[in-house]
């Protein structure tokens, strides 16, 4: 069994990570801007990135379902395995739920999402101000949950690499292969 993720899995992981690192601060920043053409533009970019993440997450889930990931080190305590699996499941869930809540929020606020200004996503909800405000709260809450999970996820990966000196981090890195 190769102790490494496939190139496709690695590429999808880091591409999605990169897009989240762009969309998250953009979302926080744009929200407080006074209304301007730039604000409208940033909202659109944010949505386009979100839809892209949603689509990549679908591909990633399909890939994950059809490609078994490398096994965890045999000496990992049970609770750590459980924690790692739980966080991974939650992260996967959020990859879908966050774009979905943003998409629904846009529809409820009466502003359809049109991917790159070309591909319109259907409005699954009608215009409804209260529902739009509620979905905004949900979108924010899910995002700050994501922030917490990502910090835990990255912290655990770094702990494995620098403290445990195992290959957990390396197997997801496109470079840095330690000769062991």
């Amino acid at each position: 069994m190769p102790n490494r993720y496939t190139h496709t899995a690695i590429s999808l992981h880091w591409l999605i990570a990169l897009l989240i690192f762009a969309a998250f601060p953009l979302g926080v920043y744009m929200h407080d801007l006074p209304l301007s053409p730039d604000k409208l533009r940033l909202y659109s970019y944010h949505k386009w990135i979100g839809v892209t993440i949603f689509m990549l997450a679908i591909i990633r889930l399909v890939w994950r379902a059809t490609h078994r990931p490398p096994p965890l080190p045999a000496n990992m305590p049970k609770w750590e395995r459980f924690a790692a699996e739980s966080v991974h499941h939650l992260l996967y869930a959020l990859l879908f739920l966050i774009p979905l809540s943003g998409w629904l929020m846009s529809s409820a606020k009466g502003f359809q999402t049109v991917w790159f200004g070309v591909l319109p996503l259907p409005d699954l909800l009608g215009k409804n101000k209260e529902l739009g405000d509620l979905l905004q709260k949900v979108h924010e809450l899910l995002n700050f949950s994501l922030l917490g999970l990502v910090l835990g996820h990255a912290g655990a990966a770094l702990k494995h690499h620098f403290i445990r000196h195992d290959t957990i981090l390396e197997r997801m890195l496109p470079f840095l292969r330690r000769n062991s």
Partner: protein, 183 residues
């Protein structure tokens, strides 16, 4: 004989007069618009307006209309945008609170469609406009749905930074639906 003719002509002209619909039914009427933001059509509406319309469905070309729209009653669907569009760069609603349309002619286009020509005044500027509408007869009232397009920059609606049409398109579609009853 002359009296009979006179009476007859009075009688004949009576239905024509009675066919005039001129009382606006505000609850069933609406003025909405579709702007395009970042390529996405976004609907909004004007909640307050009044319309003085006189229309005889047998002679629509004699119809007249004067429509006043209270610009501050705009609902873009977004509170932040509602506060923005009444400002001087947009409608300047404090200085020019009303947009008005006054018809000058109505012409049939065929297939139940008509064109209303007239003057549209917004933000102190008056331009010739042409709206297309239908006449739908309902029991005791007429339904007049129609629309027209305007270029917002022709009226300096959204000047300064907002004249950037890649964010908000120049063309805006105005949709109206007036219901008029017999007086």
């Amino acid at each position: 004989m002359r009296i009979i003719l006179l009476a007859l002509s009075c009688l004949l002209s009576q239905p024509a007069l009675a066919a005039n619909y001129s009382t606006l039914v505000p609850q069933q009427s609406s003025v909405t618009f579709v702007s395009t933001q970042m390529g996405v059509p976004v609907e909004g509406e004007f909640r307050k307006f009044n319309a003085t319309i006189t229309l005889d469905p047998d002679h629509p070309e004699r119809g007249t209309a004067r429509i006043n729209i209270d610009l501050a009653s705009i609902d873009t669907g977004n509170q932040e945008a509602n506060e923005e569009v009444v400002k001087p760069l947009w409608f300047d609603a404090a200085a020019h609170p009303v947009a008005s349309f006054t018809s000058t002619a109505v012409k049939p286009l065929g297939q139940g469609r008509y064109a209303a020509f007239g003057k549209l005044t917004i933000k102190g500027k008056t331009l010739d406009t042409q709206a297309v509408f239908n006449i739908e007869k309902q029991p005791g009232q007429l339904l007049l749905p129609g629309s027209f397009k305007l270029k917002r920059l022709d009226y300096a609606i959204g000047s300064g930074i907002w004249s950037d049409t890649s964010a908000v398109a120049d063309e805006v579609q105005i949709r109206f639906r007036f219901v008029v009853a017999k007086p």
